[in-house]
């Protein structure tokens, strides 16, 4: 497998948009599903998945791998993930540099990993085992974080770069998460981006967030803001052509508004390509 995936512009597949997507062909190159939403026995979710997959390439994005957790890997979950991969045949499978719980519990959140050498070794070993089990490389996404550990021994970009190198995995670069965490922790977003291994970045996310004055929360419930678009343009300029998409998970606008945002993303990307040429 090569790190460079086919270029394209996608959207997160959410049930509220099934009617529009099924009604007529949409100017979307691919859809990304939340893997866990389709880890159900059957019914409407699986039927919609199969129908839309018949017309569009798909990518799978998980939220419950809990890569950084001190708990043992959950092979029941991984078996279900593998079954879904076989059904969807996605271009990319991704999850997060995060943990979701310990002692068998799941808080259903992407909790921050301590950025220590111990934690790095733990994540490298688990990412390798996950990839061996799935029989394919996975991409790991930089999370939005709201607290940082005093005992951190490296920055998140260095952690991700080393994790990707040692586990030979890919990265999913969430530009909004970089923006959110940079604001919350007071680091320079472009300097963070410059420390990532570009050749391993297999996909880009952008999304909206909620600004709480003294911190920002990654809520996916607003349009993408200008600052994040600016950062996206920087990524496109410096990283090259990478499949990119918009996530929206709440306060859903009409589908046409998401398509407008996707058109904006294409236009920004085209402008950067033209400038580079």
């Amino acid at each position: 497998m090569t790190a460079k995936n086919p270029r394209g512009f996608g959207l997160g597949l959410r049930p509220i948009y099934y009617p529009e997507i099924l009604e007529s062909p949409q100017p979307v190159d691919w859809f990304e599903i939340i893997s866990e939403n389709y880890m159900v026995p059957g019914g409407r979710p699986m039927a919609m998945l199969d129908r839309i997959r018949a017309d569009y390439p798909m990518r799978m994005h998980g939220v419950s791998l809990s890569l950084a957790s001190a708990d043992p890997l959950d092979f029941d979950y991984l078996r279900a993930l593998k079954r879904l991969i076989a059904r969807v045949e996605p271009e990319l499978v991704s999850d997060h540099l995060a943990w979701t719980g310990v002692h068998g519990l799941n808080l259903h959140d992407l909790l921050p990993a301590p950025l220590t050498r111990e934690s790095l070794g733990h994540c490298v070993e688990r990412a390798s085992r996950v990839q061996d089990f799935l029989g394919r490389r996975i991409a790991l996404e930089n999370p939005s974080t709201y607290v940082a550990f005093a005992g951190d021994e490296m920055g998140e970009a260095e952690f991700l770069a080393e994790l990707a190198r040692r586990a030979d995995c890919l990265l999913l670069l969430d530009v909004n998460n970089v923006y959110v965490s940079a604001f919350n922790h007071g680091f320079d977003a472009r300097a963070y981006l410059d420390r990532l291994p570009r050749e391993r970045v297999a996909q880009i996310h952008v999304a909206g967030h909620s600004h709480k004055r003294t911190y920002i929360v990654d809520t996916h419930d607003h349009p993408v803001c200008d600052d994040v678009w600016s950062l996206f343009s920087y990524v496109w300029r410096t990283f090259g052509l990478i499949p990119a998409m918009i996530e929206r998970d709440d306060r859903f606008p009409p589908f046409s508004e998401l398509l407008d945002e996707l058109r904006h993303m294409r236009a920004l990307a085209a402008a950067e390509e033209k400038a580079r040429a």
């Binding site: 019914g43 959950d74 979950y77 310990v102 259903h108 111990e118 919350n184 922790h185």
Partner: protein
């Protein structure tokens, strides 16, 4: 501190009413927020908001019936009493009926338990496994001598549940856009819930159908189902009970609940 200890402390602080000061001592001071409690609140408060969202998705009528304050208290109690062990948020609320039955606050409230049971069944049927329904014409091709040994397979979305009349009335009121009645009548009612294509349906079962559908779903052969009916109504003759059982069977087929029918091996 080791990774496992850090994560234990972090998780305990999310689940507890008040986060641990020991954890806060391990976190960097925030850049702009006044204190670390403000930014840790994204995890602490976010956990409660997500639990409320998951339960609201599965139990919209219960939420409406209880009101935001009482439903919020229920969410808090459930999140503490039954913290999620599921990777998929879809199943977080599945244990609510059992939790309510064991809860000192709600166990005796038949309306609340009955409504939770009904909505849990509807949610479970919604994405139960798929199976092709058997056409009723299948019955006509079964030799007469095989009927007593006939065993039926039910669609995985078929569920029999015990709820209450007032819970059912509340559910139907909300579906019709009407307010939930304050008057409560806790009479029990048995329901069968099933899915056809993507639509989840339900209807009330009378006592006899409730007994035999439960028996048939457990794998009893048609002859035993008829015998059960005959035993339950000794004043009726066996032929009448067989016709009654046949009537139930035809309805199950017509509703798309049956996905298999084959004589049991001797």
């Amino acid at each position: 501190m080791k990774l496992a200890e850090i994560q234990s402390l972090f998780q305990e602080s999310v689940l507890a009413d008040e986060p641990s000061l020991g954890l806060f001592a391990m976190l960097r001071p925030p850049v702009r927020a006044e204190n670390i409690a403000e930014t840790f609140g994204v995890y602490h408060d976010g956990f409660r908001l997500r639990m409320a969202e998951y339960l609201s998705n599965d139990y919209p009528v219960l939420r409406e019936a209880l009101g935001d304050e009482l439903f919020g208290a229920l969410v808090e109690a459930y999140a503490k009493g039954r913290p999620s062990t599921f990777r998929n948020a879809r199943w977080v609320g599945a244990g609510l009926p059992a939790f309510l039955r064991a809860s000192p606050l709600f166990a005796s409230d038949r309306f609340v338990v009955g409504l939770a049971v009904l909505e849990a069944a509807l949610a479970r049927s919604f994405d139960a496994a798929d199976a092709a329904e058997l056409p009723i014409e299948t019955l006509g091709r079964i030799p007469e001598e095989d009927w007593p040994r006939l065993r039926f397979g039910f669609h995985p979305g078929v569920l029999v549940v015990d709820s209450t009349q007032d819970a059912l009335a509340a559910y139907e009121a909300v579906q019709a856009g009407e307010p939930v009645a304050a008057a409560r009548d806790g009479d029990e009612v048995a329901l069968v819930v099933w899915r056809r294509e993507f639509d989840v349906n339900y209807r009330i079962l009378d006592d006899r159908e409730r007994i035999v559908v439960t028996q048939a779903m457990a794998g009893a052969v048609f002859g035993d189902v008829c015998a059960t009916l005959a035993f339950a109504s000794p004043e009726r003759d066996d032929g009448e009970m067989a016709r009654l059982a046949g009537g139930f069977l035809v309805r199950w087929f017509a509703d798309g609940m049956i996905v298999g029918a084959a004589p049991a091996s001797e």
